[in-house]
């Protein structure tokens, strides 16, 4: 046991040392000649009203028009963000919902939370009613996040420290991704659907190979729980948001942290994040009711979205990059651009 512990320490030191040998520069140095983006001022274009309690999650559909939101009022609402109409208002069995997701096809939505399950709903049922299609149960902790790979596969992250790849048709676990030493809080799927990343309460982010069920890389550096995680648009880098009030950018191919987005005036934890379409802007939602907008290459704050009267719990940028949607504990969603 003592030998194993020594070997662990040796390997950790080895990884740190190897990473250093590839650090021939920093992103800061490389971007020294780049001009900071001008002040970004986005306006609220729409306010989506209808939820009666805190909103915990939202996810855009791939058509950049519809989105789904989940609130602890026990409802999933599918919105047409342009007309602000509610396309579907789905009552949930359990109101303790913490996450929701829209399938790329637009046919399904999913949600879950303190019921430890991921419920899949078919939006395109024959009789027009939205019903539960599957209840994916096996996690022994709360469902913190879920993301569809297709209409037949979904990945979930849980307070039981694992992530799972499910076969929706049979309702069974295809793969279990174990390794985090704390609640897995958030996950993001790579643009090519081959990998996913998870952020956890062990302060690390992990990159997983979906088909091999293997953890390829682990990134540390945060000083508290990672609540939010996402891929840089080209899939080569990962952005994390933490209770330590900072966001970090990790490059997957260099296997190390490139930048930290922090400011002494920002003292509240990051709850959610989303990159803009080109990756140049990073939008991060915080506990202090604001969204900070960062120039991702220069690590300078270039804007603030202030409009919610409570914590910003979720944020998403549509696939065509046209708009950003924020969801809050104040029960409203806002569309900005």
């Amino acid at each position: 046991m003592e030998e194993l512990r020594k070997e662990m320490e040796n390997l950790k030191d080895q990884i740190t040392a190897v990473r250093k040998t590839f650090q021939d520069s920093t992103l800061q140095e490389a971007a020294a000649g780049v001009t900071v983006v001008g002040r970004v001022q986005l306006k609220t274009r729409k306010t989506l009203r209808g939820h009666l309690a805190k909103i915990y999650a939202m996810h855009w559909g791939t058509d950049s028009t519809l989105c789904v939101s989940a609130s602890q009022d026990g409802k999933l609402i599918v919105w047409d963000t342009i007309t602000t109409n509610k396309v579907n208002a789905i009552p949930l069995k359990s109101s303790w919902v913490m996450t929701c997701a829209y399938a790329p096809s637009g046919n399904l939505v999913a949600c879950g939370g303190l019921d430890n399950m991921c419920s899949i709903y078919n939006l395109k049922g024959k009789d027009g009613n939205v019903k539960v299609m599957r209840e994916l149960a096996a996690h022994t902790g709360y469902l913190s996040c879920c993301r569809f790979l297709s209409d037949t596969e979904i990945i979930t992250s849980s307070g039981d420290c694992t992530c799972v790849l499910w076969d929706i048709e049979t309702g069974t676990q295809k793969m279990v991704f174990a390794g985090h030493q704390g609640d897995a809080m958030s996950l993001g799927v790579s643009p090519d659907f081959k990998f996913f990343i998870s952020g956890a309460c062990d302060f690390t982010a992990k990159l997983w190979d979906i088909r091999e069920a293997e953890c390829r890389q682990t990134f540390g550096g945060h000083e508290s729980d990672i609540n939010a995680i996402g891929f840089f648009p080209n899939g080569n880098a990962v952005i994390t948001g933490s209770d330590d009030a900072t966001c970090k950018l990790y490059d997957l191919r260099a296997d190390q942290e490139l930048l930290t987005y922090q400011d002494p005036s920002i003292m509240c934890g990051v709850t959610s994040l989303a990159p803009s379409k080109s990756g140049r802007l990073l939008l991060a939602g915080h506990d202090d009711f604001n969204v900070n907008i960062w120039d991702m290459l220069k690590a300078e704050r270039v804007g603030v979205l202030a409009g919610h009267d409570n914590r910003v719990s979720c944020i998403g940028v549509s696939s065509d990059g046209m708009a950003c949607c924020t969801g809050s504990w104040d029960s409203f969603l806002k569309i900005w651009n």
Partner: protein, 68 residues
């Protein structure tokens, strides 16, 4: 037995660290250059970055002007 479990767990952690230590890496300078290049290439088609003209903004209500 909990000791056997601990050893099994420790072995798994060591195994995982070996996998992570052995991956291929590229230099930060190349990684940084690629990120910057991607941002530059896609800047013009990033609506939140360059702004959206009212006529092309599906979220902006286009109200006709009323001349009083």
């Amino acid at each position: 037995m909990s000791t056997t479990n601990n050893i099994a767990q420790a072995r798994k952690l060591v195994e995982q660290l070996r996998i992570e230590a052995g991956i291929e890496r590229i230099k930060v300078s190349k990684a940084a250059a690629d990120l910057m290049s991607y941002c530059e290439q896609h800047a013009r088609t990033d609506p939140l970055l360059v702004g959206v003209p009212t006529s092309d903004n599906p979220f902006k209500d286009k109200k006709p002007c009323i001349i009083l």
